[in-house]
């Protein structure tokens, strides 16, 4: 497969290492009362969809960046490739705004 790296351009997937569902970015709050259950479903349960899937790839033989790739698990078409760092920072900012609102 080919992953179109945001800054380095198309690269063969052999340069990357796959981790899994990008839901791993949403690490639960270890201090909540339901921490054990939250971490159980975070660590063990997966949607595993047959269709669009946001997943984490590591550019091991390239610039060692983590990427969030949006790929269809039936056709393998890749529609989006982002830096995981940017996706996570956006999530953090959204959480801060939400907390500020509530």
């Amino acid at each position: 497969m080919i992953i179109n790296h945001p800054t380095l351009g198309p690269r063969d997937s052999a340069e990357f290492t796959y981790l899994g569902d990008a839901a791993l970015l949403r690490r639960p709050n270890p201090k909540s009362e339901t921490a054990l259950d939250d971490f159980y479903s975070y660590q063990y349960l997966r949607d595993n969809p047959a269709g669009e899937h946001r997943e984490l790839w590591y550019h091991e033989q390239g610039d060692r960046s983590w990427l969030v790739v949006t790929r269809n698990t039936v056709t393998h078409d890749i529609t989006k490739v982002e830096f995981a760092r940017d996706v996570k920072q956006a999530m953090i900012e959204k959480a801060i705004i939400k907390r500020a609102k509530s």
């Binding site: 497969m1 063969d12 791993l24 054990l36 971490f39 590591y58 983590w66 996570k88």
Partner: protein, 942 residues
């Protein structure tokens, strides 16, 4: 125009006999020219087989190429380019190809109908493995492999282009020409060693000159275009994701020539144009498998391209294309004429027609119509669709990937002119100008489908696997009515040609039997490779010693000069021990290395441990997130042991981390986990805490690092460390670290760390000085009889100290199991903290690391033994844990072991059994503290 050079004869040997062919011949054409009829035997009935086709569709002429003891099996004679000195042999017969004892199966054929083996061989039970299966296995298979290593070399390569044109026939050539002239980066690949496709095999004219000239001129112009790459003898065997195509280029058919025999190309193409042409299919009629029965197109190829006129031929055709074959008799199924039987066991003798007539003939040219080569359009699970008018399966334009077009005969445009029209159309679509259309034949195929002649006698559908129309009908009768079930039950299309000539005929027979239409019956799945690819080509240069790269330590040269025996540790080669003259076995060396280190000083290369530079304002905060203990409080100039968990709470790796400045830590990992830990740290940094100011870079290869351990370690180091650095115990205590210089100003680092349990330091210098430093250390160490020690001695010493290593950090043990429960900081979270508190990981009865020592000192311990409580039966329910590390301790003069025992902490002093069935070694052992030597660690702090 024949493409064989008659004044360049080539001598070759087939089945021990000398023959002569010419430059430009294939082995098949040379054999036909020499009048050889029987070239092989079919798989099940072992009936005589003759050459049937002229290219990759060939099912019968499978031969072995031999060269000084090496044998390449199952090669189609039609695709071997003849070379001087070729030695080939026919396959799959007991006795000679003309007198095959296994032909007895043909006589027993009523008992060998499809799937017979599923219904018998069941009684008596043991006979299947003892009697029936050995017989079947000995008779099975086609060609044979010699047990010698494949002497050939193979290369792998990577090509990039705008457009990959697959197939060098009229459609492919014109497309490549248009796109080439428009300046596109084009690759034109064709399986044949001459480009032209069907143009080389027919007597067409283009622009009123021979079509062969047109092909040659087109190729000549393509050669002048730098942006076009012509690749003859290159088969595109597979279509993969995102414009990746698999290609195999054959440089030579010779065995063990210098240089690569084949190159496996991975082609990255923005767009691909499939112009792979079509394959003619036979018709099934009684005894249609006699040598001499050939595809009509093949007979024309051998006549027009190779100059071989196969006389007295009877043509059986259901379409006009077949009529181009000159034959003494024409049997046209559209006039309700067909063949009901053929005689001649080793070559066609007579042909019996449905009107009762019997003809004498030596060859039967059969044309049942043409199948477009749609395979590559279906490698991404697409399915072809049925075209009623042309009676063939065509690519389904709806499920075609957008970056793949199909033109020419592969798209049902069987005429030359039709191919040119589609070539121009796709060229325009891809941004090139259409060429002026050459004048070429445009004859319609006018086919009326005619699949098989019903009758009592066997009519072959798959010539190689001996699948007959009756087998397909029987499969349906037994409920195997899906086309996938028929394929598996009868093995239709599972031979080396993958059903190129048999699949469509077979499913037409099935459709008739199930009273369904052909589209309803559907096709089986087309899978890569389009044509078989040698396993050697996929391996390329990565065989033998080059299977994996080899990583060498900075002291590798010195170690090999001083008697080191090396061991693989991942891709690293590490010194396992240093053998000295007079030492009888490895134990002598290892015991010496341990005793010398514990009594004076030993040096060990520890460069292979992963080293990661962790820098930034938040480096300390970051390390708190990945280790169970706290690092933000670590003072500059100090080191600290750290245990890293996976998010599921299980131990992942451990190692020491040194703080060289406020924003600079150097973290170490075990050798095996260097890669995975770095990847994990980058995941935590980028995916969980992107706002931290922390940066990582691996420095494993940058710094050469040596452990200097033993009572005289400091004395030795003081002779190397520059004098302005005070490394006395007061100035440089246990777990201290500093940057400094050695040997008059060479930059270095010193860490007060010990894995052996002795007074020990780790000294590191930039790797360019690694070799010089180890030699200097050993030179300065002579007065203390300093020795080099290897991984074996290191292993013994760390087991004597009860330190966990790879065997204990095996991915199933928790901090508590490793005796490091107390290490886990209560105040902060870290990766794995929450899930490490799950009930089954913390309960009383879980596994705990313990030491074990044989009750009577003479007993040997063996690793991998299981622990069973005294008096319990040695069965799984009583399994109490396992031995994880074992060593002979020269210090204690006894075997010692580490292991995991249920509720181990509370069972010190208990005697249990260490049970090792596999090495028949059952030993009573006493559970003790894992810290066998200097449990309080006094030697560390001297």
């Amino acid at each position: 125009m024949i493409l064989v050079d008659l004044n360049k004869p080539l001598n070759f040997v087939f089945d021990g006999k000398l023959y002569q062919g010419f430059e430009g011949d294939t082995l098949a054409s040379a054999l036909l020219r020499a009048g050889v009829k029987v070239v092989g035997r079919s798989f099940k009935y072992h009936r005589p087989r003759g050459i049937m086709g002229a290219a990759h569709e060939e099912t019968n002429a499978l031969v072995e190429i031999h060269n000084d003891g090496v044998c390449e099996p199952n090669r189609r004679a039609t695709t071997i380019k003849l070379f001087e000195g070729l030695t080939a042999k026919s396959q799959n017969h007991l006795g000679s190809v003309n007198f095959d004892m296994l032909a007895i199966n043909d006589i027993l054929h009523p008992f060998l109908a499809a799937g017979f083996y599923y219904k018998t061989f069941m009684w008596p039970k043991a006979f299947w493995e003892k009697l029936y299966e050995p017989i079947i296995r000995r008779a099975a298979g086609l060609g044979s492999l010699s047990h010698k290593a494949d002497p050939d070399t193979y290369d792998k390569g990577f090509l990039h282009c705008d457009i990959l044109v697959i197939g060098g026939g009229p459609a492919g050539l014109l497309t490549a020409l248009n796109l080439g002239r428009a300046g596109k980066r084009v690759i034109l690949a064709d399986e044949d060693f001459v480009m032209g496709g069907r143009l080389l095999s027919e007597t067409y004219e283009i622009n009123s000159a021979s079509s062969v000239n047109w092909a040659a001129q087109t190729v000549a112009e393509l050669k002048t275009l730098p942006n076009v790459r012509l690749m003859p003898r290159t088969s595109i065997y597979g279509v993969y994701d995102h414009g990746v195509y698999g290609g195999l280029e054959t440089k030579t058919d010779k065995i063990s020539e210098r240089g690569p025999r084949q190159i496996l190309w991975r082609v990255y193409a923005k767009h691909a144009v499939l112009a792979a042409g079509a394959t003619e299919r036979p018709i099934a009629f009684a005894n249609n498998d006699r040598p001499g029965v050939m595809l009509a197109s093949a007979i024309r190829t051998y006549k027009n391209r190779f100059g071989i006129d196969l006389q007295n031929t009877a043509l059986l055709t259901n379409n006009d294309n077949g009529l181009m074959t000159n034959a003494e008799h024409i049997i046209d199924t559209r006039n309700n004429q067909y063949i009901v039987d053929v005689t001649g066991r080793k070559g066609v003798r007579t042909v019996k027609l449905n009107n009762g007539e019997t003809l004498k003939a030596k060859h039967i040219a059969v044309s049942g119509g043409w199948n477009p080569n749609v395979h590559l359009t279906c490698h991404k699970r697409g399915r072809p669709i049925w075209n009623e008018a042309l009676a063939c399966f065509m690519p389904d334009t709806h499920t075609l990937p957008q970056d793949l077009s199909v033109i020419g005969a592969a798209n049902g445009a069987f005429s030359t002119y039709g191919a040119f029209i589609e070539a121009n159309a796709v060229s325009v679509k891809l941004g090139a100008k259409a060429a002026h259309l050459p004048i070429a034949e445009d004859a319609p195929i006018n086919i009326t489908p005619f699949w098989h002649v019903k009758g009592r006698k066997r009519a072959w559908v798959d010539f190689q696997n001996d699948v007959t129309a009756k087998d397909i009908i029987l499969a349906h009768q037994e409920g195997f009515s899906s086309v996938e079930h028929v394929k598996r039950y009868t093995t239709l299309g599972m031979a080396t040609d993958q059903g190129k000539t048999s699949n469509v005929v077979g499913l037409a027979v099935l459709a008739e039997a199930t009273e369904q239409t052909i589209p309803q019956t559907g096709t089986t799945i087309f899978r890569p490779p389009y044509t078989p690819v040698p396993i050697g080509a996929f391996a390329g240069a990565h065989t033998g010693q080059h299977f994996h790269p080899t990583r060498l330590t900075p002291s590798h040269k010195y170690a090999s000069e001083t008697g080191a025996v090396f061991v693989e540790t991942g891709n690293w080669k590490r010194a396992q021990w240093f053998a000295r003259a007079g030492e009888k076995g490895w134990r002598d060396s290892v015991d010496r290395e341990v005793l010398m280190t514990r009594s004076s000083v030993g040096i060990c290369d520890v460069t292979t441990l992963g080293k990661i530079d962790v820098q930034g304002r938040d480096a300390g905060k970051f390390l708190n997130k990945v280790y169970v203990n706290t690092f933000s409080t670590l003072k500059v100039g100090k080191c600290r042991y750290g245990l890293m968990l996976r998010e599921d709470g299980i131990a992942m790796d451990d190692g020491t981390t040194a703080r060289l400045s406020d924003t600079h830590f150097v973290l170490t990992t075990t050798t095996a986990k260097a890669g995975p830990v770095f990847r994990h740290l980058e995941y935590v940094r980028q995916c969980l805490y992107p706002n931290m100011d922390v940066h990582l870079i691996s420095t494993t290869d940058q710094w050469a690092q040596f452990s200097v351990a033993g009572p005289n370690a400091r004395k030795l180091l003081q002779k190397v460390v520059d004098s302005e650095f005070d490394i006395t115990n007061e100035a440089f205590p246990y777990m201290a670290c500093t940057e400094m210089t050695v040997c008059n100003g060479t930059r270095a680092r010193l860490f007060r760390l010990s894995f052996s349990g002795e007074l020990a330091f780790e000294i590191s210098v930039p790797a360019r000085y690694g070799d010089a430093l180890v030699r200097e250390l050993m030179a300065q160490g002579e007065e203390f009889d300093a020795i080099m020690y290897g991984t074996e001695a290191l292993g013994v010493m760390r087991i004597e100290k009860g330190h966990a290593a790879g065997n204990e950090l095996n991915g199933t043990t928790t901090a508590a199991a490793l005796g490091l429960g107390g290490f886990v900081s209560k105040k902060k979270d870290c990766i794995g903290k929450v899930l490490s508190t799950r009930e089954a990981l913390t309960g009383e009865n879980t596994l705990r690391m313990v030491g074990v020592i044989p009750v009577n000192q003479g007993d040997a311990l063996t690793n991998g033994a299981h622990f069973i409580s005294q008096g319990d039966a040695e069965t799984a329910p009583n399994d109490q844990g396992y031995m994880s590390s074992v060593a002979w301790s020269p210090t204690l003069k006894s075997y010692i072991g580490l292991g995991f025992l249920k509720n181990g902490k509370a069972r010190e002093g208990e005697v249990i059994k260490a049970v090792d069935f596999v090495r028949s070694n059952h030993v009573d052992v006493k559970v003790v503290s894992a810290h066998f030597v200097d449990p309080k660690g006094e030697r560390l702090r001297v």
